[in-house]
């Protein structure tokens, strides 16, 4: 145990640079806490861009509200769904958002257990991203139902109708997987927030803030008992969250893999989907981190090094996904099933949607190859653009899968699918919901964990140079 004098914080502005480049500037626990908390308690003026983004998101949110109202009034027929293509953009969006929702828990749970210190700066907003993305995702299976008011029938509940969910259906597994994932992510996020909320309560500038944060911090006093329990719980939740990262997208992939539709019916789907999810999740982290760095001056906390690490995760998962694409084609050919192979041909060149397949390959497999070049992945703008390409690519990936329905087994039943304005209303509206929620999160909750960042500070700066719960566990 080091003595107090050894650990005394050095004066501000005098600390050496972080060896891994994971934190810039010269922070000690106090300045670091203030830096993050000032945004929330109002000492740091709300950036003009926040208003721009919030209003943009809020306006788009209205499209969702109107789109869902119209949908509920008339029925799913307002979308472009039809007989061969009974699923459309709604399911594409569902899988897309669930995928995005992956990075948060991966970062906060798996990277924590892996002793990846760099997760600390990004885990809070990534977890918030997860929650909001899962909220957006969860919306779609609900509203895409023909009779959404009966959605609760997917859950086992005691009733006098003697009805019960049908446990062989992946959709029922979905209901469990997604709701479990959301619950655990929410609890994990909230537990991590508690010391920060207490900090905000103590730093509050007015009565309202003190009241709200005081209630939310659940009586946290920072006693050693509190810390001990907090850290244990945090670790346990990380352990609980880890399998969920894999399970949720595995199960979402079962929605397709369990079906007999050619090219859906593939054992490769679970790992392929999980890789894709992490891929899109990190792309979204990049998309959120870059504006934060700019508008809130967080370049010291979310450093270039963080962005590069995200880029490296992206290139890894991107290659996994590309491997998956090639395996799909290989299996169709090698499996010697004419239906699989001709469905592949339809998908790649003979069918009307060949362009969406190649758009997918371009945006998801080819363009991200640029990330191999260090100059590119360290360039904020280029990284941002490539992450955007991945967003589009992942959307196309799910689109390509879903529209396989239009040309499956019997040519006499073939058709086509095109989304209508109401499909797009809920799709872009869900982006509005996400942006709105995220803006509100930035304004009212600490976007980066104050507690963990303080722990993460090097010893010299008053921190513990890592995640205390992990170091304690050691």
């Amino acid at each position: 145990m080091a003595t107090a004098t050894e650990n005394a914080p050095a004066p501000p502005g005098q600390y050496p640079p972080h060896p891994e480049g994971l934190i810039g500037g010269s922070y000690d626990t106090v300045t670091l806490g203030d830096k993050i908390a000032d945004v929330v308690i109002g000492d740091y003026p709300t950036p003009k861009a926040w208003w721009g983004w919030f209003l943009f998101g809020f306006a788009l949110l209205q499209a969702l509200v109107i789109g869902v109202a119209y949908l509920f009034w008339y029925g799913t027929g307002v979308w472009g769904l039809n007989q061969p293509a009974a699923w459309g953009l709604a399911i594409v969006n569902f899988v897309w958002w669930i995928g995005i929702g992956h990075a948060g828990t991966l970062i906060s749970a798996i990277l924590l257990l892996m002793h990846q210190k760099w997760r600390t700066s990004i885990n809070r907003f990534a977890e918030a991203m997860t929650l909001f993305a899962v909220m957006c995702a969860g919306l779609f299976p609900l509203i895409h139902m023909g009779r959404p008011w009966l959605a609760y029938w997917l859950f086992p509940f005691p009733n006098n109708m003697a009805v019960w969910p049908q446990p062989r259906s992946p959709l029922m597994w979905d209901a469990f997987a997604v709701s479990t994932y959301f619950t655990v992510s929410l609890v994990f996020w909230y537990v991590g927030l508690i010391p920060d909320l207490a900090y905000l309560r103590d730093a509050a500038r007015n009565r309202l803030q003190r009241l709200v944060y005081g209630v939310l911090s659940l009586g946290w006093r920072g006693s050693a008992y509190h810390w001990r329990r907090y850290e244990k719980l945090y670790l346990l939740l990380a352990g609980l969250g880890t399998p969920l990262v894999f399970s949720v997208h595995t199960i979402v992939s079962f929605d397709f893999a369990v079906a007999v539709v050619p090219l859906w019916h593939a054992t490769i789907f679970p790992p392929f989907f999980v890789a894709g999810a992490v891929y899109s999740g990190f792309a979204m982290v990049v998309w959120l981190a870059v504006p934060l760095r700019h508008y809130y001056g967080m370049k010291d906390l979310i450093t270039d090094r963080h962005l590069e690490l995200c880029a490296k995760v992206m290139i890894t998962t991107g290659m996994l996904v590309t491997w998956g694409y090639s395996l799909e084609v290989w299996m169709a050919w090698y499996g010697h099933s004419q239906r699989e192979w001709s469905a592949t041909m339809q998908r790649m060149w003979a069918g009307p949607y060949w362009w969406s397949y190649w758009a997918l390959i371009l945006t998801n497999s080819i363009l991200p190859q640029l990330l191999w070049i260090k100059r590119v992945r360290c360039n904020e703008l280029m990284l941002f653009l490539i992450a955007g390409s991945v967003h589009i690519g992942m959307l196309f990936e799910r689109y390509v899968i879903v529209i396989t329905l239009t040309r499956d087994d019997i040519p006499g039943a073939w058709g086509r699918y095109a989304p209508t304005i109401w499909d797009y209303a809920v799709m872009f509206g869900s982006i509005g919901l996400f942006v709105t929620l995220f803006c509100l999160f930035l304004r009212f909750l600490p976007m980066i964990s104050i507690t963990e960042m303080r722990e993460f500070l090097p010893f010299k700066q008053g921190g513990r140079d890592g995640h205390s719960c992990m170091e304690n566990a050691k």
């Binding site: 007989q83 009805v163 079906a259 004419q338 087994d409 086509r416």
Partner: protein, 1173 residues
């Protein structure tokens, strides 16, 4: 304090007099109208959930009812009100009653029907097995009739100049008019052709009463050319019909005889019966013969199975051969063994050449016949000569009188008269003495004062050059009698009298062979209609007002004087020594036919001198030529306001809600027309096409172009019946831009009745057609399997050769329930169970390997010959439940279906019957164009080009590039058409069931794939996972919950589905359950001797007899291509079809184990015919 109101003094008070009945009291016309019309309009609101307003209204209504004022109830009899306190004898609520009646169709010819009535409302028409024109089958128009009956747009008021009046007033006014004319000068009756002896009798009386009055008959799709040819050939009228059961070789000259025209249902049945190749039936026949022989010789029966080749020969010998020469592409053409696309105006030349070849005098082959046609003439002539007496030529109504005459001469030459061609007394005989053309001229000359338009709509459908609407302006009084306030009725006619639907009226009609039927009403007129008989009887001063009495009065003399004495003797009542008419009448009502009414005729020899008569011919058109045809669904447009007909994907073209100028791909390319699939639904919905200006004889309309492969080049086919201006909200909605189709009658004239030169000019405008299933090529898949008879004989299991996955033939067969291999597999399962019960370890069927598999050598798995994937590889262990000692997994009853693609002609009667039976909603053109057609039976249509390569279709085959495919589809002569009805396959391992999160689609113990509508939450996962894509989703609120009349047509045994719910074919589960309940009820009852009223089956449970349950599609099918029954019943017909070698399960290789399977099509082409012809 204000003075209290006081009652007026008794003298001043108007005291209502005492009354007994409402009619007595309320005699004012205005009030009567109020009674009739005000309340029924509001009746729909009574059926809505009770709101506060409705509650009050209902309370008020109760008060009104209590007061004896009963405006909204009109009992069926109108004479006596019988409340349900004492239940009518024959009626049990919940049990349907069937009544025999007949529907007058083209030419007034009747089709015998059995109509299902539920609690007094007719809901479904089915064929009458006793009627020679039906034999239990039915066609589209009759199937759709109940919807027209309940159509809320039907006219319900007598009107005078558009204002309300009454029938009584109309009769008085019209009678005055007739009286004023004294002898009927200037009075003309224009009616549709009628075969009704009663109408003919009454019209005869009418013309006797007003001798100068005249009677013309008109129908847009008439058989005038045939009538003219018959008159020319025999110098007297006759009715011609065919006997296809006796025909080995059939040549159709532009006749769509399997789906259109009088007798089509019977023709299709006779034809279809000879398109079925059945080895098991052949074997049974051998067995029977052997037994009979032994019996005759007094020996003990001992059956030696015949040689397999003999069996095959016997099964094949039944096959007939069909040659079709046509310009359009029809169901008949699609069913043909050889099909020659020829311009309609050249068909006469073809007939002439054929007649010349067969030695008919005065016939000479035209010079301009194409080489292919010449080869055809030669081969067809040879084939027909070889089967004299068993060959027949049939000519379409679109062909010239000369063609009909030539065909008659050829038939005579081939010895067909009396064999395959038969004659009866003319059907629409009657004192008609005028025609439409002459009528037009007289009207224009102002010589017509009073014009009766009975059941006709000439303003819409008369030849355009007659300018009928203008001519009508010159007529003083015009009286219209029809179901609708149509184009003729409202702006042009003085009086409009609503007609009673045939399901509401008494009448009589003759069938295609002259057999008369009684038209029996199923319900009192719902919209105040009067039948023709009532109208005529009212106008005649004979005092005959009761239509039933009028019909009886026609048949009483027939019974008394004309009926065959032997037949007559059957109708002796116990109490009467002499035959009585009443008994005869009752039998006629019950059976639906008047016995002994078909009058055979022998018109004698064909007079050949008219054969060269130019007046009967139509000149061959060199350039582009139009052919008008009745629409396969709407026919001539008489039922245009019928949503079922409008929405039905038309046979072969799959077009809905529109007609279009149809051209072949080559012609389309020449004229620069293009067609593409829209992004929104593509092949299964929206086809975008060019608009064109179509000019015929100087008359022009704008019309959409539709490209149809296999049509003759340089022909435009335009179907009649569309583009109505005033027909109701379906056929002519208020928003005129959405009116379905284009009015072809605007082009048609007396100078261009069927064919004429035409000009088709592309307009720079696009139009979209709702085509439910337009994609045409097979894409190297083999959903439809087919072979020639020769190929079948050489390799009878041709349909089993897996087209998709490599695998073993027997394994694929095992995956098709009902086959021998499948039974063997089930036996294995049973063995497993017995082993398990005996304490041996349970073995999942997946664990079963074939014998010696583990050994080295051929057949071992090292060689890859055994594909285990094809075994039933369910993850779920077989359900070990037993019910009454029966293995529940194997099933006590196993319902199954086979569809014979060889005899299916794609007529869509099955789809329409299913619509009527199962309350399938009409969704409109917009929704169809979004790919959401709701029909439970989809009829897939594919094209192929036969090549030298056996079995494989090059068109759409793997080796053919899309570009080459596009090139090949232009060769109309070489294209083959295949149709395949695809309902739910009721898979034993149904992929849909596994994926439903709420268990809304589940398997029943007898193997039905059930849909639980009220459990469905609408995730649509089942539809995605259905490899056949036969599930249908209610994307919007499709079922009509609001229109009053539309509710009454629904089948109460089938749930009306709400929005957001999946639906699909149920094998008519309501019919199955009803039959099983009935069987169990009877089985429980004991006869006096203690035995059961119904026998037990092999398992000791109530037996459901084979054929006791008919699905709606099976019942309707004119060719009897559908077989349904229980696979566990060893005697069932379906089991026999399942065991046929060419039975195959669609996509059986993906382990769905479909209960519905297909019998591959076996065609019988002439081996001498040139390739591709």
């Amino acid at each position: 304090m204000p003075a209290e109101p006081t009652a007026p003094a008794p003298a001043a008070r108007t005291e209502p007099e005492l009354f007994q009945s409402v009619e007595q009291w309320m005699d004012s016309a205005k009030f009567q109208e109020l009674m009739r019309d005000e309340f029924p309009e509001d009746a729909d609101s009574w059926l809505d959930p009770v709101s506060r307003r409705n509650f009050l209204a209902l309370s008020a209504a109760s008060v009104a009812l209590a007061g004896g004022c009963n405006p909204s109830l009109r009992p069926a009899s109108q004479r006596q009100v019988v409340p349900y306190v004492d239940q009518p004898d024959e009626l049990t609520p919940g049990v349907p009653l069937f009544f025999a009646t007949a529907m007058p169709q083209q030419g007034g010819v009747g089709l015998g029907l059995l109509v299902k009535s539920r609690e007094g409302r007719p809901i479904k028409c089915e064929g009458n097995p006793n009627h020679p024109g039906s034999l239990g089958s039915i066609e589209l128009q009759a199937l759709a009739a109940p919807l027209t009956l309940h159509d809320p747009d039907r006219s319900s008021n007598v009107t005078l100049g558009g204002n309300g009046s009454t029938f009584e007033k109309a009769v008085v006014a019209i009678k005055n008019e007739l009286t004023a004319s004294k002898d009927g000068t200037g009075v003309v009756f224009l009616t549709e052709p009628t075969t009704s002896p009663t109408v003919q009798r009454l019209m005869g009386d009418m013309l006797k009463a007003y001798p100068k009055a005249r009677w013309a008959r008109y129908e847009p799709v008439g058989r005038a050319n045939e009538t003219a040819a018959l008159a020319a050939a025999f110098e007297k009228p006759a009715n011609l019909y065919y006997k296809f059961d006796a025909a080995d070789v059939i040549l159709s000259l532009d006749a769509d005889f399997l789906t259109t025209g009088p007798g089509a249902v019977r023709y299709a049945r006779d034809f279809g019966a000879r398109r079925k190749v059945r080895l098991i039936e052949a074997a049974e026949a051998f067995h029977r013969e052997s037994d009979e022989k032994a019996k005759a010789a007094g020996r003990e029966p001992h059956f030696h199975p015949p040689k397999h080749s003999k069996l095959l020969d016997r099964a094949a010998a039944k096959m007939n051969r069909l040659y079709v020469v046509e310009g359009a592409l029809t169901s008949t053409g699609a069913a043909a063994d050889h099909r020659l696309p020829l311009k309609p105006s050249q068909v006469e030349g073809f007939a002439r050449a054929l007649a010349a070849r067969l030695g008919v005098p005065n016939a000479a082959a035209p010079a301009d016949l194409s080489e292919t046609a010449k080869k055809w003439v030669e081969e067809v002539a040879k084939d027909m000569e070889a089967r004299k007496g068993k060959a027949v030529v049939i000519t379409g109504e679109h062909q010239s009188a000369a063609t009909h005459l030539l065909a008659l001469a050829v038939n005579e030459k081939l010895g067909a008269f009396g064999q395959t061609v038969a004659f009866s007394a003319p059907l629409d005989s009657g004192p008609a003495n005028f025609d439409l053309k002459a009528l037009g001229a007289e009207m224009n000359a102002g010589k017509v004062n009073t014009l009766f338009l009975v059941g006709v709509n000439p303003v819409y459908d008369a030849p355009a050059d007659l300018r009928f609407a203008d001519a009508m302006e010159k007529v003083k009084t015009k009286i219209h009698h029809g179901l609708y306030v149509d184009e003729t009725a409202l702006p042009h006619c003085t009086w409009h009298i609503p007609a009673a639907h045939f399901l509401e009226s008494w009448g009589d009609v003759r069938g295609y062979d002259g057999t008369a039927s009684v038209i029996q009403p199923l319900i009192a007129p719902m919209r105040n209609g009067k039948s023709v008989i009532e109208l005529l009887a009212s106008l005649l001063n004979t005092g005959e007002q009761d239509p039933l009495a009028a019909v009886k009065a026609t048949w009483q003399p027939f019974f008394d004087t004309k009926l065959d004495a032997k037949l007559k003797d059957q109708y002796k009542a116990a109490t009467y020594p002499s035959p009585t008419f009443e008994r005869y009448w009752e039998v006629a009502l019950r059976d639906g036919v008047l016995p002994g009414t078909a009058e055979a005729a022998t018109p004698g020899a064909v007079k050949a001198d008219k054969i060269g008569d130019k007046a009967l011919s139509v000149a061959a058109v060199k350039e582009l030529e139009i052919q008008f045809r009745p629409d396969p669904a709407l026919f001539d447009g008489r039922q245009a306001n019928n949503g079922w007909l409008q929405e039905l994907p038309k046979p072969i073209t799959n077009l809905t809600w529109d007609n279009a100028a149809m051209v072949s791909p080559a012609t389309a390319e020449r004229l620069n027309f293009q067609q593409s699939f829209a992004w929104t639904a593509g092949e299964r919905g929206r086809t975008e096409t060019d608009m064109a200006e179509l000019t015929v004889m100087g008359r022009k309309i704008r019309v959409a172009v539709h490209i149809v492969p296999a049509m003759a080049d340089d022909v435009v086919v335009l179907h009649l019946g569309f583009g109505r201006d005033r027909a109701g909200r379906v056929a002519s909605p208020d928003d005129k831009t959405n009116t379905p189709g284009f009015n072809a009658y605007k082009l048609r004239g007396t100078d261009a009745v069927w064919t004429a030169p035409a000009e088709l000019k592309r307009l720079n405008e696009r139009y979209f057609l709702a085509v439910a299933g337009a994609y045409s090529a097979m894409e190297s898949r083999r959903p439809v399997r087919h072979a020639t008879l020769e190929q079948f004989k050489a390799e009878e299991v041709f349909a089993q050769v897996p087209g998709i996955t490599p695998g073993e033939y027997k394994d694929l067969r095992a995956l098709t329930p009902g086959t021998v291999e499948n039974f063997n597999m089930l036996e294995e399962l049973r063995k497993t169970r017995r082993n398990a019960e005996a304490g041996q370890p349970y073995k999942h069927p997946y664990d079963y390997h074939h014998e010696g598999e583990e050994e080295e050598g051929e057949g071992g798995h090292a060689h890859g010959h055994h594909d285990k994937r094809l075994k039933p590889l369910s993850l779920y262990v077989s359900n070990p439940i037993t019910v009454d000692g029966q293995d529940a997994n194997i099933g006590y009853r196993r319902w199954a279906m086979t569809i014979d693609l060889g005899s299916c002609i794609g007529c869509s009667a099955c789809t329409m019957a299913c619509v009527a039976e199962n309350n399938i909603p009409v969704i409109g053109k917009g929704e169809v164009s979004r790919g959401r057609a709701m029909h439970w039976i989809r009829i897939d249509r594919y094209f192929s080009i036969p090549t030298g390569e056996v079995l494989e279709d090059k068109l759409g085959g793997e080796k053919v590039s899309p570009a080459e495919r596009k090139e090949r589809i232009k060769d109309s002569a070489a294209i083959r058409v295949h149709v395949q009805p695809v309902p739910c396959q009721h898979c034993e391992k149904a992929p849909c069931e596994v994926v439903c999160p709420v268990g809304a689609t589940v398997h029943s113990a007898d193997g039905l794939n059930d849909m639980v509508y009220n459990r469905c939450v609408g995730t649509r996962y089942c539809s995605n996972n259905c490899p056949y894509k036969v599930r249908r989703f209610n994307f919007l609120q499709y079922s009509d919950y609001t229109t009053d009349g539309m509710k009454l047509v629904n089948n109460p045994e089938v749930t009306v589905r709400t929005r957001g719910v999946m639906e699909k074919c149920t094998y008519c589960v309501q019919r199955i359950r009803a039959a099983v309940i009935e069987a169990e009820r009877e089985w429980d009852k004991k006869k006096p001797d203690g035995s059961r009223l119904r026998e037990s089956d092999a398992t000791g449970r109530p037996k459901v007899y084979d054929g006791e349950i008919l699905t709606a599609c099976q019942q309707a099918c004119p060719t009897q291509a559908i077989t349904f029954g229980d696979l566990n019943d060893p005697q069932s017909a379906v089991l026999k079809t399942k065991a046929e070698p060419h039975n195959y399960g669609l996509l059986a290789e993906i382990n769905t184990m479909p209960r519905t399977s297909y019998l591959a099509a076996v065609r019988n082409p002439n081996p001498n015919m040139p390739q591709g012809a």
